[in-house]
C-alpha cells in the first residue's frame, strides 16, 4: 500500500468520524444561568456562580449559589467549599418541599 492509498483510508476514516460525531453529539449540560435552569423542572445545565453561603459540607453539601439570582444547591458528597468560592455546577433543577433547588452532579472550583 502506498502513501496515496493510506491518505485515502485516512480521509475515509475522517468522514466516518464526522458522521458518527453528528449522530452521537448530544449537549446535555449547556452553559446556563440559574434563571434558565430553574424555568422548568428537570432542566440540566452548567451553571457558573459564587457560593454565597455554605449550609453544610458533610456528609453531603448544601450551599447557596448566586449569579445575580440565588438558589439552593444540593451536592450529595462531602466537600471543602467555602463562602465566596467561584464554582461551575453540573446541575439539574428539582423541587423539594415546594421550593426550587439544584441537584449537583458535579461541582468544579473555578481556578
Amino acid at each position: 500500500m502506498d502513501d496515496k492509498k493510506l491518505s485515502k483510508i485516512c480521509l475515509a476514516i475522517t468522514l466516518c468520524g464526522m458522521i458518527l460525531l453528528g449522530l452521537t453529539y448530544h449537549e446535555e449540560f449547556e452553559k446556563k444561568t440559574i434563571y434558565e435552569v430553574t424555568q422548568k423542572e428537570g432542566t440540566k445545565g452548567l451553571v457558573y456562580g459564587r457560593i454565597e453561603y455554605v449550609i453544610k459540607n458533610s456528609p453531603s453539601t448544601q450551599f447557596i449559589l448566586t449569579d445575580g439570582n440565588k438558589i439552593l444547591v444540593f451536592y450529595p458528597r462531602e466537600s471543602d467549599y467555602n463562602k465566596n468560592d467561584f464554582v461551575y455546577v453540573y446541575a439539574e433543577s428539582q423541587t423539594s418541599g415546594g421550593k426550587k433547588e439544584l441537584y449537583a452532579y458535579k461541582v468544579v472550583k473555578a481556578e
Binding site: 493510506l6 491518505s7 485516512c10 468520524g17 460525531l21 449522530l23 452521537t24 452548567l46 457558573y48 461551575y88
Partner: protein
C-alpha cells in the same frame, strides 16, 4: 462548533507532536484552568491527544528527538531514515495508528463493559503485572553485567521517582528527551537523501493489531507507558523487523490514548494528563463515551492525513546544519519548558534524570528501564492498598 474545537485540538496536537519536549500534558495544564467544559473540552483534548500520537513520530524519525511515547521507535525509525526511507517509516506508524483507531472504535463498548465488571480483579492483578514488567526489562539485557547495570538503573530511577514525585515532566524529559539530543549532537550527524516513495507492507497489520491490544492493556495498567508495552511485546516475539516494530509502536501509541478514555469511564482513573482534565471537566455518561469515540475516530483520520502531509514537507528539509541547530534549539526549549512549568525543583529533577538518561544511553541499556521511576512507586502504592 464542535468540529472547530476538534480542529483547534488537532492544531495543538500538531504543535505538541512537532516540538520536542512539549507534550499534551503541558497543554492540559492550561486547559484545566480554562472555562471550557463538557463536549467542548472533550473535543479539544481527545483530538489533541490522538493527533499528537500520530505526529509524534516526525521529530523522532527525522530528528532523532523522541517523546516519552516514541523513544523505542527512534532506533528502527532512524535506521530507515539513514537508508533514505524516513517517509516510509512515518507512513508505517500512521498505518499502525489507523488500525488502532479502527479497532478502538469497534471494541470500545465491549472494552468498557469488561473493565467495569472486572475493576476489583484489575486492582489485584496490577502489582503482579508491574513487577513482571520490571523483571522482564532487566532480564532481557544481553549479559549479566548489563543486567546488573539495569538493576542499578531501576534503583536509581525509583529513587528519583520517589524523591521528585510531582516532577514527572522533568523526569521524562531528562530520561528520554535531552540525552538523546545531546548524544546525537556528539555523534556525527548523518543525513541521507530521502525518497518520497512509501510502501506499507500488508504483513504489518499483524503487529498493528498486536499493538492495539498492547495499547489497551497499557491503558488499564497504571505506571506502564506505550514504550514499556512495546518493549514487553518485543520480548515475547523473537525477532521483529524495523517496519513491523514501527507499525506496532504506532498502534500502541494511539491505542493507549484511545482506550484510556474508556478506562476513565469504567474505573474513574486518569492514566494521562488529558484524562485528568476530562475527569475534572465532564460527567461520564454513556453518551459521552460514544461521543468521545466518534471524536477520536475523526481525529485519527485527520491525524493520519496531517502526518503524511507533514512528513512529505519534511523530506530533505533537514540538512546536517539544520539538524544541529534544531537539536540545540530543542534542548534549550525543553529546559525552558521545565523551568516554566516546574520551577527550580523541576530543573534539579531534570539534571538528575538527564544524568541517568545519558548513563543508560552510553552503556547501551534498554531505555524503557528508566520508566521504573513511575512503575515502582505505583507498585508500592498498589501493594499498600492491597496489604
Amino acid at each position: 462548533m464542535i468540529i472547530l474545537y476538534c480542529l483547534l485540538g488537532a492544531g495543538a496536537g500538531v504543535l505538541a507532536g512537532l516540538v520536542p519536549g512539549l507534550h499534551t500534558n503541558n497543554i492540559a495544564v492550561l486547559v484545566l484552568a480554562s472555562p471550557f467544559f463538557g463536549t467542548e473540552v472533550t473535543a479539544f483534548m481527545l483530538s489533541m491527544c490522538i493527533v499528537q500520537s500520530f505526529v509524534d513520530f516526525i521529530p523522532s524519525i527525522y530528528l532523532g528527538a523522541p517523546s516519552v511515547d516514541t523513544f523505542e521507535g527512534v532506533l528502527p525509525g532512524h535506521k530507515m531514515f539513514l537508508k533514505g526511507r524516513a517517509h516510509e517509516a512515518i507512513c508505517i506508524t500512521v498505518f499502525g495508528g489507523i488500525i488502532a483507531v479502527i479497532v478502538g472504535s469497534m471494541i470500545t463498548p465491549l472494552f468498557f463493559l469488561f473493565i467495569a465488571q472486572n475493576a476489583q480483579e484489575i486492582i489485584l492483578v496490577t502489582p503482579g503485572v508491574l513487577i513482571f514488567s520490571v523483571i522482564i526489562m532487566c532480564m532481557k539485557e544481553k549479559n549479566w553485567k548489563k543486567r546488573a547495570l539495569a538493576v542499578f538503573v531501576v534503583c536509581a530511577a525509583t529513587s528519583q521517582g520517589m524523591l521528585f514525585k510531582e516532577q514527572i515532566f522533568p523526569l521524562i524529559t531528562g530520561y528520554f528527551g535531552v540525552p538523546t539530543l545531546l548524544y546525537s549532537i556528539k555523534e556525527k550527524i548523518v543525513t541521507a537523501k530521502q525518497t518520497n516513495k512509501a510502501e506499507v507492507p500488508a504483513k504489518t497489520i499483524v503487529e498493528a493489531l498486536t499493538g492495539a491490544v498492547g495499547g489497551a492493556i497499557v491503558a488499564v495498567m497504571p505506571g506502564i507507558g506505550s514504550n514499556v508495552a512495546a518493549a514487553m511485546i518485543k520480548t515475547f516475539k523473537n525477532k521483529i523487523g524495523s517496519r513491523k516494530y514501527l507499525a506496532m509502536l504506532g498502534s500502541i501509541n494511539t491505542s493507549n490514548f484511545f482506550f484510556s478514555y474508556a478506562t476513565l469511564f469504567a474505573l474513574d482513573k486518569a492514566r494521562n494528563g488529558a484524562m485528568l482534565v476530562l475527569r475534572e471537566k465532564i460527567i461520564p455518561t454513556g453518551e459521552m463515551l460514544y461521543y468521545g469515540t466518534a471524536i477520536m475516530l475523526f481525529a485519527g483520520g485527520l491525524g493520519g492525513l496531517i502526518t503524511i502531509l507533514l512528513s512529505k514537507k519534511a523530506l530533505n528539509f533537514f540538512s546536517e546544519k539544520k539538524t544541529f541547530f534544531f537539536s540545540i534549539g530543542s534542548i534549550i526549549l525543553m529546559i525552558f519548558l521545565v523551568g516554566a512549568f516546574n520551577g527550580t525543583q523541576g530543573l534539579i529533577a531534570l539534571g538528575f534524570s538527564g544524568a541517568l538518561g545519558l548513563f543508560v544511553l552510553t552503556k547501551k541499556i534498554r531505555r524503557s528501564i528508566c520508566m521504573s521511576s513511575l512503575i515502582v512507586p505505583t507498585l508500592f502504592f498498589y501493594l499498600f492498598i492491597l496489604i
